[in-house]
Every structure is written in C-alpha cells, then in structure tokens.
C-alpha cells in the first residue's frame, strides 16, 4: 500500500510541474500586453518607461529564464504581485481559495448525501414509480441551467421564506473569525463562537445548494447505475444466500462494490465545482476564487491568472491523488497495479 501511495505521489508531482509550464507558456504567448494594461495607453507610448518596467519585471530576459525565475519563486511560495489588488498573488489565493473550497466542499457533501442516497434508492427500487420519479428528478438537476436555479432558489428561500440570506459569507458588518483554515464555519467553531458558526452556515447553504444541483443529478445517475451493476453480481446473491440482513447486504456488500466509480465522479465533480464557481459566486456575491479569476481575466492581471490556473490545477491533482489512494484502500486489486 505504501509503495502504491508513493508511486501516485511521484506521478502527481510531475503533473504539477507540467501544468506550471503550460500555464506559464500560455500566458506568455497570449495576445494582450500586460504592460499596456498596467501603464495605461499614454505611458505605454513612452519607450523609456516601458523599457524600465520591462527590466523591472524581468520581461526583457529570454522566456526560459523568465520561467525558471518564476519557478524559483513558486517553490518559495511567491507567485508574483497581483496588479488589481497590489498584493502578492499567494495572499489573494489564501483569502479567496478557502471561500470557494468551503462552498465547493459543502456542495459536494450535499450532492453526495442527496444524489448518492437517492441513487441507491432508485437502484434498489429499480423500475418502480419511485425509480421513475427519481430519474426525472436527476435529469432535471443535470439539465436546468444554474442561473435559473439560483434565481428560483433565491426568490423562494431568501426573498419569500426568508430562511437563508442570499449574499456574502456573513451578514454585512460582521467581522470574520480569526483565520486558521479560511473556512468561516470551521474557524468560527475553532474560536468557540457558535452564533457566528450558525451565521456562516446559513450563508453557505443557498449557494452550495445551487452549486450542487447538477452534481446531485450526475451523482444520482452514476450511483444508480453502479449499484444496479453490482446488485446483479453473483457475490450479492451469495451474501443473500448466507442469510445476512438486507442492511448488511446493501451497505456491506453492494455499496462496497459500487463505490469505486462513484468516487471517481465525486472527485472530478468536486474539482470542477471549485473551478466553475464563477457564476454562483457572482450571483451570491461570494468572495471566492471564481470572482477573483473573473476580475483577473478582465483586467489582464497575468500573475493572478497564472496563480489561479496553478491553484485550480493543484486542486485537480490533489483530488486525483486522493481518489487514487481511496481506490487502493477500497479495492485490493487496484493496489497491485
């Protein structure tokens, strides 16, 4: 098992390096002049000023040298300065990253419980009216546009019922809990501030619910298919022939067998949620990585763009690594491969 984990870890590190190269090259060859964006049209016409700034930013050196300088910075945790916030990109990421991660994680938990649970029910009640209703429901989850769902959810749960607030991570004017993980819910708990935890949680629910909608549908379908596949296996019949309780057969045998494909989906879906929170963060005024990426892109803030790209890639790689290790933990046959 240890060798298995180490091998996966080595592969992950190579991937990180690869992504960094690609991200760096893409932003270097893309059209659009960061200098112009930074200096403004008039100053950009001043050749002396431009040359000075180029030298200052290291843009006068060959591309490979720039890359190694960047890589050196990256290893020390230096991703450069963000033009829009005038702060180190790492600081921005440390602030906005956890906000999005908290949102994406909550959405994943909702999707896992609701989608996974309903998928199991649908499979065990295969071809009954329950199954049909659930399948229609999952199709809805996958096909309804996110912004529409966001509007409807806000109007019902926030405007009409007033159950949940519809913007920000906390009520206006409320101070954030002391920074430990950057997850407001967890930091509030760590600070022992229960009311603040409640508030952070309330703010989290609605955007997480909206964000989870497509994933609920997806997960339900995958869980259903995977469970159905396993239910037909002879080892499930064998478990029944042993006289085990239905609960034991479902949770101990069927789910165990159905887990690997479901974990794949959860892993990929979590990573894509984190990368795709732009829309939901805009709607719910959630100060996360999606909003940050959007601002960086529109202001041609190259260091920030590369920073976000590497961050998102890192999340993908970490999630993939975790899924791989989980595979090995669940299925002994994979450990050997």
């Amino acid at each position: 098992m240890l060798m298995f984990v180490l091998r996966r870890l080595g592969a992950s590190l190579l991937l990180v390096l690869g992504t960094t190269i690609v991200a760096f090259l893409l932003t270097s060859v893309l059209p659009g002049d960061a200098l112009t964006a930074r200096l403004g049209e008039r100053a950009a016409a001043n050749a002396e000023l431009v040359a000075k700034l180029r030298a200052e930013l290291g843009l006068d050196r060959p591309i490979w040298e720039q890359f190694f300088i960047y890589l050196g910075g990256l290893v020390r945790g230096d991703l450069g300065l963000s033009l829009q916030s005038n702060r180190p990109v790492t600081e921005d990421l440390a602030q906005f990253g956890p906000a999005s991660a908290e949102l994406a994680l909550m959405a994943t938990v909702i999707a896992l419980v609701v989608g996974g649970g309903l998928g199991i029910v649908a499979a065990l009640r295969n071809n009954t009216w329950i199954d049909n209703v659930l399948r229609a429901f999952s199709l809805g989850g996958v096909s309804v546009p996110l912004f529409w769902f966001a509007l409807v959810a806000t109007s019902i749960f926030s405007t009409t019922l007033r159950w949940f607030p519809s913007s920000g991570r906390l009520d206006a004017g409320v101070a954030a809990p002391p920074h430990v993980t950057g997850f407001f819910t967890i930091d509030a708990l760590l600070a022992g501030d229960l009311p603040l935890f409640g508030q952070a949680f309330e703010h989290l629910i609605l955007p997480a619910l909206v964000l989870s909608a497509p994933m609920v549908g997806l997960l339900m379908r995958f869980t259903r298919a995977s469970v159905l596949d396993v239910v037909g296996q002879e080892y499930v019949r064998a478990a029944e022939a042993k006289g085990l309780a239905p609960r034991t057969v479902v949770f101990g045998h069927v789910l165990r067998g159905a887990l690997v494909p479901v974990i794949t989906i959860v892993g990929t879906a979590f990573a894509s949620l984190l990368a795709g929170t732009v829309l939901v963060e805009q709607i719910f005024a959630w100060p996360g990585i999606g909003s940050y990426a959007y601002r960086s892109a529109t202001t041609l803030d190259l260091s920030a763009i590369v920073g976000v790209t590497i961050f998102v890639a890192l999340v993908y790689i970490v999630v993939n690594f975790v899924t791989d290790v989980l595979y090995g933990a669940i299925d002994p046959r994979i450990r050997r491969a």
Partner: protein, 261 residues
Amino acid sequence: MTPLLEIRDLRIRLGDRALVDGVDISVNPGEIVGLAGESGSGKTLTALTALGFTPPGSAASGEVLFEGRNTLTLPKSQLRALRGDRVAMIFQDPMTSLHPMLTIERQLTEHQLAHRSLTRRQAREHAIELLERVRIPDPHRAIRSYPHRFSGGMRQRIAIASALACEPDLVVADEVTTALDVTVQAGILRLLDELCRDTGMAMLFITHDLAVMNVLTERLYVMREGRVVETGATREVLAAPTHEYTRALIEALPQTDTETA
C-alpha cells in the same frame, strides 16, 4: 425416513411461460442427490427454491419443504435464519461468487456471526479450521488476503469452506466444477464427497455433466424443459436409461468417460 428437502409439484411461471412445470424432488438427510439437465432445463431454478429464492416477477406454486417448513411461504426473516445456517449454497463461478473487495476472513465469518452467538475471535478460529479442512495452504495468511490472490480452484475451495461454516444440513452445489479446469474438478469433487461423508450433510448437486454425477451422487433426477423426465439410483439410470433424453445426454459424453461409467 422423513426427507430433509421435499419439493412437491413445484411450478414456477414467468408471465405465461412455465419455467418449472410440476417438479417433485426429495433429498434425505446425508444423501448426495444429483440434478442433471441441459442449461435452461430449470434445474438451477428448482434448486434455488430450497433457499427460498425465486426469480423476480415470477409466480411459484407447490411446496418446497425444508425440514418441514415451506420456503415458498416462509416469512423473510425466517428464511434468512435458514439461509447460510441450515442450508448453504455453493455457486458456479468462484471468480464472481466471492466479493472481490472483502477479506477472506470477513467472507468466512460474517454468516457465523449472524447465525451464531460467537465472538469475532472464535469465528475467525473456526474459519481457519475450515480453510485447513478444504486444504488451503497457510490458512493463517490466507485468511487475511483477498480473493484475487487465489486461483479458481482455490477460490472454489474457499467458497466451499464458507458454505460449511455453520455446519448446514443441506448444501446446494450449482455447477460448482463447470468453471474449473478438468484436473482441478476432480480434486473439488473428491473434497465434496469426503466432506459430505465426514459431516453427514446432504447435498443437492446440480450439473449438466453426467460423468461427474456418476462419481459423486447416489440418486439422480434428470430434468428437461422444466420437468423431471427420469429418476432413480445414479448407477442404474446411467446403465439403463429409460428416457431417450437421458440416453442422448449419455451419448453426448466423451467415449472414454462412458466406459469408466
């Protein structure tokens, strides 16, 4: 002697098709009974009713009396109490009948723990004894590993050990040698024979292979298209088949096998 298992006028219908059409079979305590027939003859369906399994959506009528209780009408909880405890099952393909992600220990102990008041440790020790009994080398090590570490024949031995775990009165063995190499088959058959003699358990042995029947079973039922077409002592049936279908089955055997039979 009252039969251990008595199937009376069993009929299983799926829609308007009769899968099993008025079958009578009995198995006495300690007896090894064969159930032969080509695939689709209804032999597996018939045998599965001994454990109370009927195909989903089908309608079964008649009686399947196991130790006097009708498994067709028994409440689910009582059926579960029988399964794995009084009547056990060995499946055709050991590659698929053992759970690939659970340890051998778990698969040999979970039904012991469900049916008996044993500690985990006692169940584990019994499982190790069972592995020894079915001649799995190094059982202490084997019990910690997973099915994919074993060959087909070894896996079938593990499946047999699992069936024996609660010392059942009846074992239903469904084509248990079909998926195995010929050389491995002989070892499994000898093992089953020996285990039945030692423990006094009865076995309903299902196969399409009449040569195998001759080695193992005392009595024989031959099924075709959901009906029993011939029955009697295995030796007599094979020596002088009265039904043309049985004769066709015997003729289908490789020549050398019929001579030893």
